[in-house]
Symmetry: C2
Subunit: 189 residues, 2 copies
């Protein structure tokens, strides 16, 4: 299972055999069943998770009980509550599994120590975080400047695989509209 992660790291910052074995030591495997939580709002995020197989999501629940999805994490993506993980503050996000999912967990303390032992990993995570920020910025701009229908179309072209994995309800939650309205938009074709 760890080889998926090693392969991913090597695609960005190639590691020596020795460095690889350090990584192998520091991560922990875990399998989540559908709907199982990896992290709950109110707790301090201890882990960042690399998805080997399946799909996780992070989401907030508003005062009316509605869920708002911040991120989907299919295979080969990292997911965490970045705010909580970085600030060691309890936060508002939940992370759970949309379907049976295998992950590798890296604790915050391990991550910090791993950066000193393998500086290349600091680069790896810097690059991933830069990419995530660029993607997040694009999403913000889309949200500010495009109507729901166009946001939906963009979502479909950006994440063609996800469309077939997740429910429409989840897509609606991600693009910021109600499932009823998404259903209406889809009916217009």
């Amino acid at each position: 299972m760890v080889d998926h992660l090693i392969k991913h790291i090597n695609s960005i910052t190639p590691l020596s055999a020795e460095e690889e074995s350090i990584v192998v030591e520091l991560v922990r495997e875990k399998t989540l069943v559908r709907k199982q939580f990896l992290h709950r709002a109110g707790e301090i995020a201890q882990y960042s998770a690399f998805v080997v197989e399946g799909c996780l999501r992070s989401y907030a629940v508003d005062r009316n009980g509605f869920e708002h999805i911040l991120q989907f994490a299919p295979a080969n993506w990292w997911i965490s509550d970045m705010y909580s993980f970085v600030k060691s503050q309890p936060s508002e996000l939940n992370i759970d599994a949309l379907l049976e999912t295998k992950v590798l967990l890296l604790s915050r303390s391990c991550q910090v120590s791993i950066f000193d032992r393998i500086p290349k990993l600091e680069r790896y995570f810097r690059i991933l975080t830069e990419n995530a920020l660029a993607a997040s910025n694009l999403r913000t701009i889309n949200y500010l400047s495009l109507p729901a229908k166009v946001r939906y179309e963009k979502f479909c072209t950006m994440y063609p695989t996800l469309i077939n994995t997740i429910s429409q309800k989840s897509v609606a939650s991600y693009i910021g509209i109600t499932p009823e309205f998404l259903s209406k938009l889809r009916g217009e074709y």
Copy 2:
């Protein structure tokens, strides 16, 4: 002027005197007058800018000519078009000055070489990028789950200094509503 940057870096990852002098060598000072562009949509972002004094903003212009502000950068903030800077792709963002502003510019090529010469700076930028991502995620959640009035109130408490620096029009553009509607909301108090 560079000492502002050095001080900022030292607050996150303390540098040796020698490392400091490398930083000093690699950045370039620039002063922008009000409304002067640092970066225009369509170009590939060459620089990341550290604001010493004044305030910049990044924004996209939609098909109807409306501006949508992605980021404000007051003193001690970095700003760039992360997408364009990282992918070396032309992007949709403009960056200009809201008032006379002094910046330090770091080119992408310098940044890459600086990481090899001063690994601490890779950490510095990793941490800044993590913080920016955490803030961006919070903004996304707010946008998905809160009505305009609450987003405005949160903006006021999160950026009390900015409120007195920038126009209401800019605030409206950042929180994703029209200036007319913001004016109406403010009238309700």
